[in-house]
């Protein structure tokens, strides 16, 4: 990073924090601190929802995934528009009309305090596990670029995010998200244009090359239950994931609870239904173009500089490197023949993949273990001055928008569903406002501590999705019972959730079912078990009376 990049990054960060604090001033009641006094317009909520979902992991890992695996990951978002329509029709209006602070508060009105406590606990565990991963991703950026230890960088990021989230509450979170989303979009467009511009062939030729390597596979129609991304898993599995995330996860529900009307809340959801897939397409397409770029510019044997050093010191390095260089040269020569002789390029790609895997095996790492480093390596080494700073700002913005929403929602559930409900029921509003600020600071600190461990996990985006999918089936199942099964009782909901979670953990530990299906299957188990218990209870009742 050069001085101009630092200037862009610093100006963006200071601008975000100052703007957010200014817009969030006067959050002096719990209603204002946790729900922005229900004054938000749709565009602020819309971009806040989008920014919250788009984490630094989205930028860093998704581009890398397109590089190694192609664009098929896009299909995971196909269920999102359907989910948004379902939420706009059935879920958001109920939350809004009932005047709740959290999605789980609604469950007490529909079922009882036990169900609310169980589901709140599930949320706290699940989101609590994910928030560290969201913080560790940008720390990874700084570790690669500046060589600073991850512990220092997570601390730095954490202090900034926790600072403005504690100070301004959700109004600050929403308006900082708004600006962060604009910066992300600018960074994303800059990255895409630079990737295309730096590639020495035309866009059409670049797409032919990416396609020949299987990197433009946006639609996979074959159905395989163990396969990761195809149209069916995207539509059904993706829909359940989006339903759980946007409809039952407080970190998103709280965004649209701040709306000044239900229409505004619905518009914010539908904006995401329309805009999310094109945005994801752009991110993945950037990754595919980075792939083409490295067809003409030799990439390192691995994009992880630490692993590269280890490989260089191994005995087999010289032999491996000679084969790697030859394989890359052969692929570059074959790329000129695409699309007339795509077969030769495909064979060369296979040879190159094998050479890359061989390099990884020298250091004892799996192929694709450097997915998270690809995009950053490209940005810092090849992007023009100023743009590097902008993309760094975008990655920081993405991280901050996700983390702020997560610690804000964790604090809200801790205070509203746990502290106020079970520990201190009667206190002045000022007391709960203070508790909310302390809870925000606590979860911020917790995120910083857990982030130290999260960086060692594999492709970060899958880690986040996996953690979510272990719990989302239970969450979505209980809300399906609440909204769509009038006969469901509190006991049915409680045991339904526990049975569903047991089933999900069984599938995770003992089967090869792809994690995206956990949400749909887990939800089915919750609804089925919950319905059965409810029926048994109702059958029991008259005989006892």
């Amino acid at each position: 990073m050069r001085p101009a990049d630092w200037a862009v990054l610093a100006a963006s960060l200071i601008g975000i924090v100052v703007y957010g604090l200014w817009k969030g001033r006067g959050s002096n009641t719990t209603a204002k601190y946790l729900l922005a006094g229900k004054t938000m317009p749709w565009y602020a909520m819309a971009l806040s929802i989008m920014a919250t979902q788009a984490s630094a992991i989205t930028f860093i890992s998704t581009t890398g995934q397109a590089y190694v695996d192609g664009m098929r990951f896009i299909q995971m978002y196909l269920g999102l528009p359907i989910a948004m329509v379902i939420i706009a029709v059935w879920i958001a209006p109920r939350f809004h009309e009932s005047g709740v602070y959290t999605a789980y508060e609604y469950l007490e009105g529909r079922f009882d305090a036990r169900v609310r406590a169980l589901v709140s606990a599930i949320f706290l565990i699940q989101r609590g596990l994910a928030v560290g991963v969201a913080l560790s991703a940008p720390a990874l950026v700084l570790t690669v670029i500046m060589g600073w230890p991850a512990s220092v960088t997570t601390m730095m990021m954490g202090v900034v995010v926790v600072g403005y989230t504690v100070a301004g509450g959700i109004a600050t979170v929403t308006w900082t998200d708004f600006v962060q989303m604009l910066i992300m979009t600018a960074g994303l467009l800059a990255a895409l244009f630079c990737a295309i511009w730096l590639t020495p062939v035309s866009l059409g030729e670049a797409m032919d090359i990416a396609g020949a390597a299987g990197r433009l596979n946006t639609a996979v129609w074959t159905v395989n239950w163990n396969d990761r991304y195809n149209i069916l898993s995207g539509l059904i599995g993706g829909m359940f994931l989006a339903l759980a995330y946007f409809g039952c996860d407080q970190s998103q529900v709280q965004r649209y609870l701040t709306g000044r009307s239900i229409t505004q809340a619905k518009l914010s959801l539908l904006f995401n239904a329309v805009a999310k897939i094109p945005m994801q397409f752009m991110i993945l397409f950037t990754g595919a173009m980075v792939f083409v770029f490295f067809t003409f510019t030799k990439p390192p044997v691995t994009f992880n500089p630490g692993v590269e050093k280890r490989i260089e010191s191994t005995a087999g390095y010289q032999v491996m490197k000679a084969e790697y260089d030859a394989a890359w040269e052969a692929r570059r020569a074959a790329a000129a023949q695409v699309p007339v002789n795509a077969g030769e390029f495909k064979a060369a790609q296979k040879r190159f993949d094998a050479a890359r895997a061989n390099a990884g095996s020298l250091a004892g790492v799996a192929p694709g273990a450097d997915t998270n480093y690809i995009f950053l390596s490209f940005v810092t080494k090849y992007m023009p001055v100023g743009i590097v700073g902008l993309i760094m700002a975008a990655i920081f913005a993405a991280a901050m928008s996700t983390i702020s929403a997560e610690i804000n929602s964790l604090a809200t559930v801790s205070v509203v569903d746990v502290y106020k409900r079970h520990m201190r029921k009667e206190a002045p509003d000022r007391h709960y406002l203070g508790a909310a600020r302390w809870a925000t600071a606590f979860w911020g600190l917790y995120a910083v501590v857990t982030a130290q461990y999260a960086a060692h996990l594999g492709s970060l985006i899958e880690v986040v999705n996996k953690v979510g999918s272990l719990f989302y089936g239970g969450l979505i199942g209980v809300f399906v019972l609440a909204f769509f099964v009038p006969r469901a009782t509190a006991r049915g909901a409680f045991w339904g959730v526990l049975t569903g979670e047991a089933a999900i953990f069984y599938m995770w530990a003992r089967t090869d079912i792809f994690f995206l299906w956990f949400n749909a299957l887990g939800c089915l188990v919750v609804v089925a078990a919950g319905y059965c218990v409810s029926l048994l209870e109702r059958a029991d009742r008259p005989s006892r009376a």
Partner: protein, 38 residues
């Protein structure tokens, strides 16, 4: 247009437009894959 009105006149039509848009995206992705991902 009033701020509180659905974009396509009624919510029903607005939701239908979103689903139509999704179908269009799937068709476009399929054509995209068929044309380039050879």
């Amino acid at each position: 247009m009033s701020e509180e009105r659905p974009p396509f006149g009624s919510w029903r039509r607005t939701y239908a437009a979103v689903i139509f848009y999704l179908i269009l995206l799937i068709v476009l992705f399929t054509l995209f894959t068929w044309r380039w991902n050879q």
